[in-house]
Amino acid sequence: MYKNNNYSGKDRIKGFLWLFFSLFILWLLLTSTFYYQEFWVGIVISFIIAITTHEFYIRLGFPPVTPKRFGFFILYIFILFWEIIRANLDVASRIIRPSLPINPGVVIIKTRLKSDLAKIILANSITLTPGTFTLDIQEDRLLIHWIDVRATAIEEATEIIGGRFEKYLRIIFQ
């Protein structure tokens, strides 16, 4: 599975720096101190991890950061949070009712997203939002378990389940 891809030097340096600084910031948040011993241990460990694993990071294929993408990403996080809270109230109200009002089904939806990372984010968002759960991904089709089936045609189900997220993800990843 592991192939030694030949990335250009510029890509390698860029990926290495992104990974190094995100790991180092994570370390600072975790220790939450600026004591010099902790500081230097953090730099050494981040350096070792970044230099050994930056190829995996490059293969994920993050798009270059622009202000527009960043803004839409923040907006996406807020929309996702709102949907998560709605999902929880919905599922919780189903659980506590004695009659257990569920109407489950398994449907297929299609996505127009191309990159793997975008598909991962879409699948995870679908898992976290009202009554839907990603079972499997196959090229551009997703198999969804739906706790309250309202549509069975592929286009209609796609619009109800994935439409909210897909339009933002397409802006972020293109």
Binding site: L26, L29, L30, S32, I84, I85, A87, N88, V91, A92, I95, I96, L100, I102, N103, P104, G105, V106, V107, I108, A123, N124, T127, L128, G131, F133, T134, L135, D136, Q138, E139, R141, L143, H145, I147, V149, T152
Partner: protein, 110 residues
């Protein structure tokens, strides 16, 4: 910081409801629905609430909460895929089942 206790309590209630869903739901897919959604928000709120009560712990609790938020859907998806692959049957309440179409198209493609 008293309102931290409210956030934690909100999370604790959802954690309990998620476990109740695990116990009550009829088949493994519905259990995953309840287990993923309720416990993700429940753990996120409960852990972050602790960070609000003790402000010096805030960043560490934020890391744990975001880690739970990112990894919980992934492991649940892995379990869902595993039970679908090992053909665990759907419960009799299931109205629509298009998973046969999904498999057949896959065979045609390859």
């Amino acid at each position: 910081m008293t309102w931290g206790w409210w956030v934690t309590g909100f999370g604790v209630i959802f954690l309990f409801l998620g476990s109740l869903g695990i116990y009550r739901m009829p088949d493994v897919y519905n259990r995953l629905q309840a287990g993923t959604k309720c416990t993700t928000l429940g753990a996120f709120c409960a852990i972050l609430g602790v960070g609000i009560i003790e402000p010096s712990w805030f960043w560490t609790t934020l890391i744990i909460a975001v880690f739970v938020l990112l990894t919980n859907p992934i492991s649940s998806h892995a379990f869902g895929r595993a039970s679908y692959m090992s053909s665990v049957s759907f419960c009799e309440k299931t109205k629509v089942n298009q998973s046969e179409d999904f498999c057949r198209d896959e065979d045609n493609d390859t």
